[in-house]
Amino acid sequence: MKGSLILKKVNSEFIRKIVEVSGVNVFACYQCGRCSASCPLVEEMDILPNQMVRLVQLGNEEVLNTATPWICATCFSCTARCPLGIDIAKLAEALRSISLRKNIDKVKINQISFGELMKLPQIALVSNFRKNTSVS
C-alpha cells in the first residue's frame, strides 16, 4: 500500500465495529511482529498480519481491501505466539465477516469444475465456504 496516512481523526466508529465483532482489544498491540514471524502464509500476503493489526489500530478501513485476511487459513499460529495474548485470528475473522456481511463472496462456487467438486472432500468445501461466502 502506498501513499501517506492522513490522520485527522482516528475512525473510532470502524474500530468500535471491529472490537464488537472480534472481541479483541487491538490497542494492546505494541507491534513486535511476532504474529507475522509465526505466520506460515506470510509470503502470500500483501500486508503482514502485524500491519493488518496496525491499520485497525489506526482505524483505517483500507484494511478491508487487503488480501491478508483472505489468505489467512485460521491456523492460530499468530494467536498462540502473541506475547500480549491478542487473538489475531479472531481479528482476521472479524475483518472477513465485515466484508461478507456486505454480501461479498470471495469464492465463486460455480467456477469450480464438476470434476474438482466431486474430488474435493466436503470438509474442505464447507470450511472454505464458511470463510469466504456470505450465504453458508
Partner: protein
C-alpha cells in the same frame, strides 16, 4: 477531661462544603469538650500558635484537630502540642477533608452530619488515650550485607569506610557476582577484571569488613537496630586459614563438572577455585561430585597433593550468630534458563546459548581465551543471530516486564563479536532499542556503524535446526517482510529474573517480594531503597534488574540509609504496642498464636501472657484473639472502639 476541638477550614476545601458553624455548635455539646474554635488554615503558623495558646489558656488536656488526613499533619500537630507540654499522644486528628468535604461536595448537609460524627468519635478516642513516651532502644552499630556482587561490595565498602563494622555474606565461594562474569562493560568497554577486582581485594583486606564467603543467612530475629542473625557457614572441606590458593589440588582432581562461573561453557574440577581472581582465593570441594565425599573413601588425591595440608574431609558446617543494627539485601538477579524457551530450541541445541554464556565466550580471560567459538563443534561462527526480549515483554508466556539491560549488552556483544570475527555478521532482532543512560545512545550508534550489525525490527517466532544450520524465523516489520536466517550461533537475551532462593530468604527476613520474586520496596517512587520492615534495605538488582552504574548508585544509597539509621547510639520507636492486664489474663495462649512476631510468651510460672515490647509491631492481632480483653493495644483500647462505634453506628 478538658478536650479542645479545632476545626480547620482549609480555605474553601472544608468550609466550602461543610457547615462550620453547625459543626462547632454540635461538637460543643459533646461531653468533655470545653472549647471549640475554627480557623482558616490550622496548619499555618498562626493556626498552630492559636492551638498552643488555647492549650495553655484553657488548660486543655486533650486536643482534636478536625482537618485533613492524619498521614499529612498528625506529626505537625502532635509536635506543636508537645512544645507547650501536652503529651503528643493526647492529640488526635479527625479527617473531615478527605473523608467528608471532598467526596461529598454535592451533599453539604449529609457531609456535615458525617463530619460531626467523625469528630465526636475522635473526641471519644482521645479522651481515653494515655500519655506515652517514645520507646528508646539501643542499637548495634553493625551492618549485615547479604550478597557479594557489585552492589554488596559497594555497600560494604561505603559503610566500612564510614567506620562501622560490616558482615558481608556471600553464598558462593567467591564474591564478585554477575559482574565478574562479564566480558567487557557497556558503554565504556572496561573489563570487569580491571574495575571490579580492586574493589574485591579492598573488601578482603578491609579491617571493618568480615567476609563470610560460601555462607548463607538462615535465620533473622529481632527488629530495627537489634537484629540477631544466624549465618550458616557451609563446609568447604578445605581449611581456608591454611589454603594458599595455589590450585595444585584442582590440577590432580579427576572429577570434571560443568562450571557455574562459565555458565556451562567450560568445566571445573570437584575441588576448585571459582576463577583466578576469586576473593577469597581459596579452594572449595563440591560435596556432590567429590569421589571421596560421595563414597566416603578412596581418591583423596587433593589431600595428598596439597602443599599446605589444608584439605579436611571431616569439616562440618557451622552456624554463627551475629548481632547487627541494619541489614542490606543485595542478592542481585539471575537470567532465565534458556531451556524454558522451547520455541527457540533453548536447552535442545548446543548452539542456542544465553547472552551470559556468550559473555564468557567473549571474555578475553574466559574459557576460550577470547576466541569466539560455538559450543557444538568449537568452530568460529560466521553468522550470529541475537534475539532480544527472549522471555521479556511477554505477559502471555513468560515475563511481562522489559529486562532493561539487554538492548545495551546485545549491542556490546555484537560489537565485540565483530572485533573478534571481522568477516562474521551479526543480526539483531529487537522490538525497541532502549538506550536510557549516559553515553548509551552514542554507544548504540557506534555499534551500528562499527559492527555493521543488521538490526531487524521484529520478534523471532521460532528456531529449529535444518541442514546443519539454525533456522531463525523472524520478521522485519520495517520492510513488512518475513525473515529467514540460517545461523551458526544464536544468542538469546534471556529475561532477567530474581535470584534463586530469594523468596526463601525474604521469608527469613520477613520482607516482601512481588509475584516474580523481586524485592518489594516501601514505596516505588519515594522509598526505593527501603523495605516495609524498618532497618532492612535493598541494594541493586535484587529490587529490579538494573545496570552496573545504577546498581552502584543504588548500593551507595542503601549504605547511606543504613549509616543514617545507625548514626546514633539509640533509636526511637512508636510506643503503640500491646499490653496485658495481668488480673484478667487466663493464659489461654490465643494471643501467642495470633502474634506474627513471636512477641508474646506465656510465663510458665504465673501462666500469664508476657509481651516483649521490643518485638511487638503494634498490629493488634492479639487483641482480636483474646477472649477476655486482657490483652489490648495501647491507645486502641476496646473501650475506645466501643465508644467510637456507638457514635458512628447511630442514625
Amino acid at each position: 477531661m478538658r478536650v479542645g476541638v479545632f476545626v480547620c477550614h482549609c480555605g474553601r476545601n472544608i468550609a466550602g462544603t461543610l457547615n462550620i458553624e453547625k459543626i462547632k455548635e454540635e461538637v460543643a455539646k459533646h461531653s468533655g469538650v470545653v472549647h471549640v474554635e475554627d480557623y482558616i488554615f490550622m496548619c499555618s503558623d498562626p493556626g498552630q500558635k492559636l492551638i498552643r495558646d488555647r492549650i495553655k489558656e484553657k488548660n486543655l488536656d486533650a486536643v482534636v484537630v478536625s482537618a485533613c488526613s492524619p498521614s499529612l499533619h498528625e506529626k505537625t500537630f502532635r509536635n506543636n502540642a508537645a512544645s507547650v507540654g501536652l503529651n503528643p499522644y493526647k492529640v488526635e486528628i479527625a479527617n473531615i477533608r478527605e473523608w467528608a468535604s471532598w467526596p461529598h461536595e454535592g451533599k453539604p448537609e449529609e457531609a456535615t452530619e458525617k463530619a460531626i460524627k467523625i469528630i465526636k468519635a475522635t473526641v471519644e478516642k482521645v479522651k481515653s488515650n494515655i500519655p506515652l513516651e517514645p520507646l528508646s532502644v539501643p542499637v548495634t552499630r553493625k551492618v549485615l550485607v547479604i550478597g557479594g556482587g557489585i552492589a554488596g561490595i559497594q555497600a560494604s565498602l561505603d559503610i566500612a569506610n564510614a567506620g562501622l563494622e560490616v558482615y558481608l555474606v556471600e553464598k558462593k565461594p567467591s564474591i564478585g557476582g554477575k559482574m565478574a562474569q562479564f566480558s567487557e562493560t557497556f558503554p565504556t568497554l572496561d573489563c570487569p577484571q580491571c574495575i571490579e577486582t580492586p574493589k574485591m581485594t579492598e573488601v578482603a583486606n578491609h579491617p571493618n569488613i568480615h567476609l563470610y564467603a560460601y555462607s548463607e543467612v538462615v535465620d533473622v530475629s529481632g527488629f530495627v537496630g537489634n537484629f540477631k542473625v544466624k549465618v550458616k557457614r557451609k563446609a568447604t572441606y578445605v581449611d581456608w586459614n591454611k589454603c594458599t590458593g595455589c590450585s595444585e589440588c584442582a590440577k590432580v582432581c579427576p572429577v570434571k563438572v560443568s562450571s557455574e562461573y562459565d555458565v556451562g561453557v567450560s568445566q571445573r574440577k570437584a575441588i576448585y577455585i571459582m576463577f583466578p581472581q576469586a576473593v577469597p582465593n581459596k579452594a572449595t570441594i563440591d560435596p556432590e561430585h567429590c569421589l571421596r565425599l560421595v563414597y566416603g573413601k578412596g581418591c583423596g588425591l587433593c589431600a595428598k597433593t596439597c602443599p599446605a595440608g589444608a584439605i579436611n574431609f571431616e569439616q562440618k558446617e557451622k552456624i554463627e550468630e551475629i548481632d547487627v543494627g541494619a541489614i542490606i539485601v543485595a542478592t542481585g538477579f539471575d537470567v532465565m534458563d534458556p531451556s524454558l524457551l522451547t520455541e527457540y530450541g533453548g536447552g535442545k541445541y548446543k548452539d542456542v546459548i544465553s547472552a551470559l554464556q556468550f559473555e564468557r565466550i567473549l571474555a578475553p580471560s574466559g574459557p576460550t581465551g577470547g576466541k569466539v567459538v560455538r559450543p557444538s563443534d568449537g568452530k568460529e561462527p560466521k553468522t550470529v543471530v541475537f534475539v532480544q526480549c527472549a522471555g521479556s515483554r511477554d505477559p502471555e508466556h513468560y515475563m511481562p516486564y522489559c529486562s532493561k539491560v539487554c538492548c545495551m549488552y546485545t549491542a556490546k556483544q555484537a560489537l565485540l563479536y565483530k572485533h573478534a570475527v571481522p568477516n562474521g555478521h551479526a543480526y539483531v532482532f529487537y522490538i525497541d532499542v532502549r538506550t536510557d543512560g549516559k553515553g548509551y545512545e552514542e554507544f548504540y550508534e557506534r555499534v551500528l556503524r562499527e559492527a555493521e550489525a543488521t538490526y531487524l525490527r521484529g520478534k523471532v517466532a521460532e528456531i529449529y535446526k535444518e541442514d546443519g544450520k539454525l533456522k531463525v524465523l523472524g520478521v522485519d516489520t520495517l520492510t513488512g517482510k518475513g525473515v529467514e536466517i540460517n545461523a551458526d550461533l544464536v544468542v538469546l537475551a534471556t529475561a532477567a529474573v530474581p535470584s534463586e532462593g530469594i523468596k526463601e530468604l525474604a521469608k527469613v527476613l520477613r520482607i516482601q517480594t512481588d509475584e516474580y520474586g523481586w524485592l518489594k520496596e516501601a514505596h516505588l517512587k519515594l522509598r526505593p531503597l527501603e523495605t516495609a520492615t524498618s532497618g532492612i534495605f535493598i541494594a541493586g538488582a535484587a529490587q529490579f534488574i538494573r545496570d552496573i552504574t545504577d546498581t552502584v548508585s543504588h548500593a551507595s544509597g542503601a549504605a547511606a540509609k543504613a549509616l543514617s539509621l545507625l548514626s546514633r547510639n539509640r533509636i526511637e520507636r512508636e510506643p503503640l504496642v500491646a499490653e496485658v492486664n495481668e488480673e484478667i489474663c487466663s493464659g489461654c495462649g490465643n494471643c501467642v498464636e495470633a502474634c506474627t512476631y513471636q512477641a508474646i510468651k506465656i510465663d510458665p510460672e504465673t501462666n500469664i501472657a508476657k509481651i516483649n515490647t521490643a518485638l511487638c509491631e503494634g498490629c493488634g492481632a492479639c487483641q482480636a484473639s483474646c477472649p477476655s480483653a486482657a490483652i489490648q493495644l495501647t491507645n486502641s483500647y476496646k473501650k475506645q472502639l466501643f465508644e467510637m462505634i456507638s457514635i458512628l453506628a447511630k442514625e
